[in-house]
Amino acid sequence: MLKVNDVTLRFGGLTAVNHVSLELKEGTINGLIGPNGAGKTTFFNLISGVYTPNEGEVIFNGIKLNGKKCYEINRIGMSRTYQIINLFKKMSVVENVMVGLHPKLKSGFFSAIARTGSQKKEEEAAREKAYEWLDFVGLRSKALDPAGSLSYGEQRLLEIVRGLASNPKLILLDEPAAGMNSKEKEELDVILRKIQKLGVTILMIEHDMKLMMGITDYIFVLNYGKKLAEGTPVEIQNNPDVIAAYLGED
Amino acid sequence: MKRRLLAGCMAAAMLVSLAGCSSAETGKTEGNTTGNSTEVSSETGTTEGKSDNDPGGEFVLGSPQPLTGVNAQAAQATLNGIQLAVEEVNASGGIAGRQIKLVSYDDQGSPEEAVKIANKMIEVDKVDGVIGPLLSTCQMAQGTLLNDAGIPTVAIGLSPSFMQNNWEYVVRSSLNSDYVMKILAENMTQLEIKSLAIFSGQDDSSKAASNAMKTEAEKAGIKVTTTETYVDGDTDFSGQAAKIINTNPDAVFVASYANVQPIIAKQLRQFGFEGLCFNKELFQADSLKVAGEAANNWIFAYPYISYENIEDCDIPNMKEFITKYQEKYGELPSHEGAMRGYDAVMVLWKGAENSGSADGKAILEGINKISDFEGLAGTFDYTAGDGEGIRTCNSYVISGEKYVLLDNWLKEGGYEAIKSK
């Protein structure tokens, strides 16, 4: 469903992403690991349209993404979360999710002002849908609180469910478990499985190896912007290059 | 929840605003003026009978002037002149026996403020007469309101535009700039000027003056080489000055605010223009100081001139005025607005004197009967009924950084001296 062929991104002299190719299969949970500064988040920004690759191409469900803007890529069905939480702090929790629904809603400017029947119905349906998504992560009780007032773990979950609201085919999760305690990590594990059941493919950056090895079907390893290895979690655990890169022997 | 909040706030806002208006209405903030005008009396609820002229009541005189902004200097001088006149009139019994209470406002030179002030003067202060604002745009905005309320206004603006709205209750105590332009055109033909460049501000009175100058000049067969303008508040006119000189006119006509006069004078001389310059109004005394010798050979036609010291003045009533002005304010009038304001109050007083009543209509009829009233600007004659009291004035030339009557200057051969240079 996502094919990345030989993609390169240069910042002036620095090659942040160096000829990386990978492919994601429908409905799988994929991991993206590598030491700090390996170019993981840059790779995410590359796919989601924040940067345009200097070389190579990114194909998503047969559509070439090079040069498309973030919101266009989002509308084709790819959502994402951010390493540093990017919630709309002063808006309420449920409103954050409703913003996620934005591409799915139809009501325009004038129907909003005239408050036509269809617009009212669509708004109510959107609000219901948002509440459903809040149940999905157990945040319904805090629906009307400002997003900024949630705990760190809850904000992470809200960001994930905000991404899911537009029923994407693929969701990119940038270190969802960062800053979570073990109980929250267990909950995250359950939620990730629920997301997979919805048929949504996941590509996840994460440093917590226990969580990654338990949940992912397939893992890619990046180091210094190059793809070091790929394979099932077991293969990756015993792959000498990966171990060397992590333990820094070479 | 949102709807309740909206409703509550709307109510709160409207009530706040209405309470505010009513509090303003009960004269809490009565316009008190600097200087020793009569003590501020809190407004009684009853509305004074406008028509009766019981001696007990006061004659409320409104004066909205642009006390802040670019024209603050002229406005302050005008206010001083008005206050001086008010004291004099009160000392000699007031208007039709009623002491004048001056109510002064700052209209910041904005027509919107002028409209609000006009309404406040009519409703809250219940003015019996108004001295018009210095800026014609404010006069234009206020004119209809005061006219429909039957309140006599003595305007002091120079531009002809606001006198064309046939407002019955508005008369002018200053000199309409169209007449000044006729006089200047006569001077130009007298001095055999063949070509003229025009440098004008965008404000209404400058625009009106430069347009009138263009028509008068063409009528007198003088070719207008170019018309340059400047933006209000601008200080650099070198581009315009260079262009004017490039068309090498015999003379340059300048229509501008007071603080622009010295700058353009210096820049014209700096760029090598030695010819005569004509100014739409009096070349102010302190502008003369800033301009220095660059102001020499500037000619203007104006009813009054400002003085460095009292001895220079040889017109009896003017000398008396500037002496009293110096006593009260410790300085000579810095802008001729003082004379305009003074004359305006005097015209109003004379009008009430002729008709013997303080009622708006009566004052107006009284003013239209004035035929030989000796004001600072000269002899006022309103009998023509078009609201213009002054029609002629003499011309002056600046020579040796002093005001000199044009006729004397010509007799002494001052012009030949320049022509030969």
Binding site: F88 | M10, K116
Partner: protein
């Protein structure tokens, strides 16, 4: 179903009470034209400021040249009315649509500018429109001599007295505020808020940031232009001084005094600043100095504006309860 319950338990009462008060105002102030005039001005400014609130309070895009749209609304309506003899109400709408288009035209290239430079672009735009009004080609705007026009003629019913204009302005305020209320609580409103909060994330959530910035600018231009049209047909005279950059600063001051991103903020802001202006009349030439000092004090002490203070008060009340 909880909506119906609210209607029943007297939520209608404050709204009815407000409506009664507002309708009674002219009767209470029979001979008090000045008060009504100020209320008329307040209504005009409420609409202009609500427009500015849309683009600044909700969408986070600063505009320091909004007097330009006020000018387009006022001059457009007055000129069309005089030369094309179109009835005043229609010219107001046409001029406002034109202002909205010009607003969109300005917003499109300006949407990539970061805060300070967007404010510079709007200052420049405001100055250009002011210069055009001050020395228009062929003197169509009457330049500094000003431009006279007539009051609105609603199918034969001349709105020329302060009382009639008060009611007309009241109707306009209700229409425009409820439209803003609905817009803010819709998909577009959420998009505006998302852009204000975090444009980068909004982009990631499928919101075409540029399109919504342009929409916010155009809507606020429409509001401010309508206010300009109402002003010119109320005062029946317009000249360039009214649309100088001092006016743009006045709009921003009122919005910040009142409190941004709220329905009541602009109302409180417009009312308080205008009344303050009237209250300071006694100060004559020191009026602007006091105004500057008060403005500075308000910014330092009351960043949320009056509405912010009320909200803090409500929150404290709720916590106490």
């Amino acid at each position: 179903m909880n909506k119906m319950k609210n209607l029943m338990n007297g939520k209608m009462v404050p709204k009815l009470l407000l409506a009664v008060i507002l309708l009674l105002v002219p009767l209470l102030f029979q001979n008090f034209n000045y008060g009504l005039l100020i209320c008329g001005f307040i209504a005009v400014y409420v609409i202009a400021i609500s427009g500015l609130d849309l683009v600044f309070g909700y969408c986070g895009q600063i505009s320091m040249g909004h007097a330009a749209f006020f000018a387009i609304g006022a001059y457009g309506s007055a000129i069309m009315h005089k030369y094309l003899h179109i009835p005043a109400l229609l010219t107001m709408i046409i001029a406002s649509v034109a202002a909205a288009l010009i607003g969109a035209l300005l917003a499109y290239p300006a949407s990539k500018l970061v805060f300070h430079f967007l404010s510079l672009a709007t200052v420049a735009f405001g100055e250009i429109v002011y210069q055009l009004a001050a020395q228009s080609p062929g003197g169509i705007t009457g330049n500094f001599t000003g431009f006279y026009t007539e009051s609105i003629n609603l199918f034969g019913f001349q709105i020329n007295t302060n009382t009639r204009f008060y009611y007309f302005a009241l109707v306009c305020v209700v229409i425009f505020l409820s439209a803003k209320h609905r817009l803010v609580h819709s998909r577009e409103g959420r998009a505006f808020l998302a852009i204000r909060e975090n444009a980068h994330a909004a982009d990631g959530m499928g919101i075409n940031v540029r399109k919504y910035k342009v929409m916010a600018f155009a809507t606020s231009a429409f509001y401010t232009a309508i206010a300009g049209g109402m002003y010119v047909h109320f005062v029946k005279f317009i000249s360039p001084e009214t649309v100088s950059n001092k006016q743009s600063v006045m709009f921003l001051t009122m919005l910040l005094f009142g409190g941004t991103s709220s329905l009541a903020g602009p109302v409180l802001g417009a009312a308080s600043v205008l009344l303050l202006n009237e209250g300071l009349r006694f100060a004559e030439r020191y009026q602007m100095l006091i105004y500057g000092v008060l403005l500075l004090a308000a910014i330092l002490l009351m960043p949320g504006g009056i509405y912010g203070v009320i909200q803090k008060g409500q929150q404290k009340l709720r916590r106490v309860k």
